[in-house]
Symmetry: C2
Subunit: 269 residues, 2 copies
């Protein structure tokens, strides 16, 4: 998600596996969120990438990338797909067996979306002690694990819910890049296991935050609390703050389970 200038250097520094990236999500077209993308795309080309890559972003990014490829007379070795994001509600961008990824509107100076990563429920666990008393062919176990009802050898309906249990809570990660404080986002990020929310300023600079359509650490915490998320990660700090602990402390006054999004740190959901 997002790709500022210098992203490639950080990927090298933190040993990111370059070819595990097949989808790139750009929240909005301010430079600190996408100026590193064109370099990454052309480096992939130099590295002889063949696998397709999909970019989810505001419409104009396609033109921006294409004019730069044209200027360098570059024909990519790989398929590059663009999927336009819209800031008018919840949209499913991507889905596979494990995860659904949505965009949802943020409120910033230009069209901006957040992204929501929802893990799909895994296979359910068979309740063997219940199944033992039933006349169910084992070939049906797979369907039951997938949550599908089946029929036993006597054509009785066996509900998956009654003979299996869910293994664990599917995880949710919500990413709110740049946004003014707006409770309109709460409905999208509710109960997230981890919420990243920008926190550009301290609340003493609320006017500046409003003017630049950013949030304060206190406001990020208020959103986390309203949405009843489990953990809050704050970031996108103004360079005026040499010591970030004051931002962390401010957030914790409202939402205790806050952490700082420090460059290079890894947060597991």
């Amino acid at each position: 998600m997002d790709c500022g200038e210098g992203t490639q250097q950080r990927m090298m520094q933190y040993k990111v596996k370059w070819f595990r990236i097949d989808h790139i999500f750009i929240s909005h077209l301010h430079g600190d969120h996408y100026y590193g993308l064109i370099g990454l795309l052309t480096t992939y080309n130099l590295l002889k990438r063949l696998q397709p890559l999909t970019i989810y972003a505001p419409a104009l990014l396609k033109d921006i990338i294409e004019i730069q490829l044209r200027a360098s007379n570059t024909k990519l070795n790989y398929e590059l797909h663009f999927k336009e994001t819209k800031d008018d509600g919840l949209h499913l961008l991507f889905e596979n067996d494990y995860v659904e990824i949505f965009s949802f509107p943020l409120e910033h100076k230009i069209p901006t979306t957040g992204f929501l990563f929802k893990q799909k429920a895994g296979l359910r666990k068979l309740l063997v002690e219940k199944l033992e008393g039933m006349d169910v062919d084992k070939s049906n176990y797979k369907s039951l694990k997938e949550g599908k009802d089946i029929t036993d050898r006597n054509n009785n309906i066996i509900k998956a819910e009654e003979v299996t249990e869910s293994v664990s809570h599917p995880k949710i990660y919500a990413f709110c890049s740049d946004t003014i404080y707006t409770e309109s986002i709460v409905e999208y990020i509710r109960e997230a296991d981890l919420l990243y929310h920008e926190s550009t300023y301290l609340h003493e600079s609320l006017n500046r935050a409003i003017e630049t359509k950013h949030s304060t650490a206190l406001q990020a915490a208020q959103i986390a609390k309203l949405a009843n998320v489990k953990r809050l990660l704050i970031g996108h700090f103004s360079s005026r703050y040499l010591h970030l602990s004051i931002l962390l402390e401010e957030s914790k006054t409202v939402f205790e389970n806050t952490e700082l999004a420090i460059e290079g740190e890894v947060f597991r959901v």
Copy 2:
């Protein structure tokens, strides 16, 4: 000249004075030569730059910059001028009291120019011992220093050349970014005090150099020799070379006064 991704970080690292830059020259539109420009231009805006900035580059760069400013809804505080470069001969791009800057064609995969910086001759030095025997009003000394002929009190023409001498050799710096070996550039860079010439490969990889329209260290040295320049600076090395000394040694076999363009080094003309 040229502005790859990460230029701002290097400017900070090497304490470049940001507001002494009023003219930026882009040799061609391959990413390693201009992907850092849009970030620099928008940072100048954040820093409240007011003084005009002029960019000399192939025509399409104007569109590339403008679409990105439009995407972020950015109206620059300062005037940004674009002057299109053409790769069809020697063109004067800029001139002031001290220097003339020209573009000249290189030969690469896309339209590319080198840049030539020619210091203007400074004021000439009066030959006082010759002037003493003449009837010249001192108010004419300034004109003589500027190399202009004058008349003495008796209306005799006094040639500046005869009563002044040039103070020092005006310096020439030639910058050849990316180019295949081509003797067509020699006429433009002749007698340069310093020539930067790319040297992507060792001569053992001549085929690769030809294929990618780059030069070898040996070829850079041959150009330096043909043009009778005083010093040669080689750079733009392929990342395959972990030790650059082999490139330096190869160049020195043909042109002894070669140096490596190492990041952060300063070379005085």
